[in-house]
């Protein structure tokens, strides 16, 4: 008996899901080519300073100060709940320049030393090194996960799971390219976590498909996939929902450092759940059906 609450025909609408993801990826790739990425100082080297101005201010005045010292690349952002803080991000500058800028800003807004609430600097060579380390971590993790998948599933399922993973990663980085969100070490750490975590749902669904292939010998692949998705839908959603509850609160209540982790995890884990159901599973059906069509022989269909 297959008692489950949902009777959603996911496989029948495969084209719609693929179209949605295809369009998103297309927009993402265009954004990556046009916008590139907004690399953080972890990777490029540079300086970040945050001042508590304590009243409303015009960023133009700060730009004027930066121009005086011929700082070329900078980003100025009003932050804080009242918008009375300013975050200044620049390319690597010398200690003297930085000290002069700090002094000028303190003078301009009558600030004391304590109003410089945060400052951070990464040398360009160290930045390149961090970038290398994080990309290496990402590559090693991908290789290990793929090997694991290969052992865990047969070829068709591994392929479908890998495409799902790639899909999540591309969508996640696309969103960062589209909205020019800063890409820093926490982003890469989150990306790596999304990589491993979005396998959860895929594993649950594919395990069920494997069980159902044995118990539903008369059904075709599409039906088996649909039943498996519907049987596991509650847990697919709930497993992700508890994590999302935590991430939403981290994003909305937590400090910036927590937001830096929570945002990419929120996006990545949500899309990970989506792709397990709407990309990986339909893709598996597609691969299996193509395989079946190729074997026009009268051999019995084997799982």
């Amino acid at each position: 008996m297959n008692q489950h609450r949902f009777h959603i025909d996911v496989i029948g609408k495969t084209k719609i899901w693929f179209a949605i993801s295809g369009i998103m990826i297309l927009i993402g790739v265009i954004a990556m080519l046009v916008n590139g990425f907004n690399w953080g100082i972890d990777f490029t080297g540079g300086t970040i300073m945050e001042f508590k101005i304590g009243k409303s201010f015009d960023t133009k005045d700060i730009i004027k100060i930066l121009n005086e010292y011929k700082v070329k690349d900078y980003q100025i952002q009003k932050i804080g709940t009242k918008g009375d803080h300013v975050s200044i991000k620049t390319s690597p500058i010398s200690n003297e320049t930085r000290l002069s800028i700090i002094k000028d800003i303190e003078k301009k807004y009558n600030l004391t030393e304590n109003d410089l609430i945060m400052s951070q600097q990464v040398g360009p060579s160290l930045g390149a090194e961090i970038k290398f380390g994080m990309i290496l971590a990402l590559l090693v993790a991908s290789a290990v996960m793929l090997t694991y998948l290969g052992f865990r599933f047969n070829f068709e399922m591994s392929l479908a799971a890998v495409v799902g993973l790639l899909h999540n990663v591309i969508i996640l980085i696309s969103i960062y390219a589209i909205f020019k969100i800063t890409v820093d070490s926490p982003f890469i750490a989150a990306l790596l976590t999304v990589f491993s975590y979005s396998l959860h749902d895929t594993i649950v669904i594919f395990d069920r498909i494997r069980d159902n292939l044995k118990s539903m010998r008369r059904s075709d692949y599409a039906e088996i996939a649909n039943v498996s998705i519907n049987q596991t839908l509650t847990r697919s959603i709930n497993v992700v929902l508890t994590v999302l509850i935590m991430l939403v609160l981290m994003y909305f209540l937590g400090p910036k450092a927590l937001k830096d982790f929570a945002l990419p995890l929120l996006i990545g884990i949500t899309w990970g759940a989506y792709s397990s159901i709407f990309i990986s599973t339909p893709l598996w059906v597609l691969i299996k059906n193509r395989e079946k069509r190729r074997k026009i022989s009268n051999k019995p269909i084997k799982a």
């Binding site: 600097q121 971590a137 996960m145 400090p255």
Partner: protein, 411 residues
């Protein structure tokens, strides 16, 4: 059966409550005392406020050169009176310095990075020698006339130093000569004889450790290492505590919502999973305290994420359990089947996250290691609480024979 279940269930709760009390409030019993976990947990600079500087030694440097540079920095930092500073080597040629409570990175960089100045000063305040005159200094064990091994520091001077030192030891016989590094007296041995060959020995040291520290400082002043800051960060005193408060708020509300969700969806098993989750949080705090883990904001992010993930295991098990109930099994066999059948998926799901966290911990940059570490500790310990603790409590609950209504089991 009923009373046994009752005892099993509440003994877990009571033990957990006692452990929680001791963990958060500490205990004193006779000579034994356990201080609260908060006292053992180190908070990162991003939570306490302070300056972090990463210095890189210039040119080809030996391990000895790095040791010397670290000794010099420690000497200076001690003079500043910073509490709980961290001065440690990173890689082959880098030194990481953390100064909690400081908020002026430029002053920190200046203090850490300036070239070491070693002077030998006579009782009249006149400089006898500088570091440039010292060729070598070692800590050794020497045998005294009575045959006891005692630690000493040897000094070898160059020709100019030998000549100046001979004059000085003659002039200041039986008087102390101060050895000063960066304006701090590191030793003031009394001249016991006139030294003309440029080979001096400092005795009267407490132990070999002290001798070796002194020798390292003297060598550091004679052949200083040039350091260059390649990264720093500074967090003001107000930002850290407010970030900690905001994180706590996010964590507490998040945990409560996750717990409510579990009860709403899974009823009795959900309630048991919530108890296991509280035990899980307790275990994580104890692990942080036992291993003196530094908790920074990325670490908190990893921990909070792991709370959301910890109940995943329970969800997978309880969903299986429901299916078995729907298939007509009675509660106890359905529960056992739920645990058995969900295990494979639970194991797979967690192992991928564990692998990811280990890779990130070893290859990731410093500011994400904390995230990888707490996530790793979290996911690993959640396997214990979500499987073993939950199963034990659920069995005890079934023994209590409270209800046969499968609706209360989430079905």
């Amino acid at each position: 059966m009923r009373s046994r279940g009752f005892i099993k269930f509440f003994s877990v709760i009571i033990v957990a409550a006692i452990v929680a009390y001791i963990a958060f409030f500490g205990i004193k019993a006779g000579n034994y005392s356990i201080s609260p976990v908060q006292d053992h947990m180190r908070l990162g600079l991003d939570l306490r406020g302070g300056v972090y500087v990463l210095e890189e030694a210039q040119g080809n440097v030996t391990q000895d050169a790095i040791n010397k540079a670290i000794a010099v920095i420690r000497n200076r930092v001690d003079a500043l009176g910073v509490t709980q500073p961290v001065i440690s080597q990173q890689g082959s040629n880098r030194i990481r310095v953390e100064l909690p409570g400081m908020n002026d990175p430029d002053r920190a960089i200046e203090i850490i990075g300036k070239t070491a100045q070693l002077k030998f000063v006579g009782p009249d305040g006149q400089v006898i020698l500088t570091g440039a005159n010292v060729k070598d200094s070692k800590a050794v064990y020497a045998q005294t006339q009575t045959g006891i091994q005692q630690p000493e520091v040897t000094l070898v001077l160059d020709a100019e130093g030998t000549k100046k030192f001979a004059e000085a030891t003659q002039k200041f016989l039986n008087q102390p000569i101060a050895i000063v590094l960066d304006d701090k007296v590191i030793s003031a041995p009394t001249v016991q004889s006139v030294i003309t060959n440029g080979n001096a020995v400092i005795t009267g040291l407490k132990d070999f450790q002290e001798a070796s520290e002194l020798a390292t400082l003297i060598r550091a002043g004679s052949l200083p290492v040039t350091l260059k800051p390649i990264a720093y960060s500074s967090v003001g005193a107000t930002l850290g505590p407010s970030a900690l408060n905001a994180s706590l708020k996010a964590g507490i509300y998040g945990t409560l919502l996750v717990m409510l969700f579990m009860i709403a969806f899974y009823r009795l098993p959900g309630f048991v999973a919530d108890l296991a989750l509280l035990i899980y949080i307790l275990i994580n705090f104890i692990v942080y305290a036992l291993f003196n883990i530094t908790l920074d904001l990325p670490g908190i992010a990893g921990f909070l994420l792991s709370i959301g993930m910890a109940v995943d295991t329970n969800i997978l098990i309880f969903e299986r359990f429901k299916e078995e109930l729907w298939a007509g099994k009675s509660i106890r066999p359905a529960l056992d089947a739920g645990f058995a059948k969900a295990f494979r998926a639970v194991f797979d799901a967690n192992i991928t996250t564990i692998i990811g966290a280990i890779i990130l911990f070893y290859l990731g940059s410093g500011n994400v290691k904390g995230f990888a570490l707490t996530l790793l500790i979290g996911v690993t310990s959640s396997l214990f609480t979500a499987i073993t603790v939950t199963r034990f409590l659920l069995h005890a609950l079934l023994d209590m024979d409270l209800t046969k209504n499968i609706k209360l089991y989430g079905a």
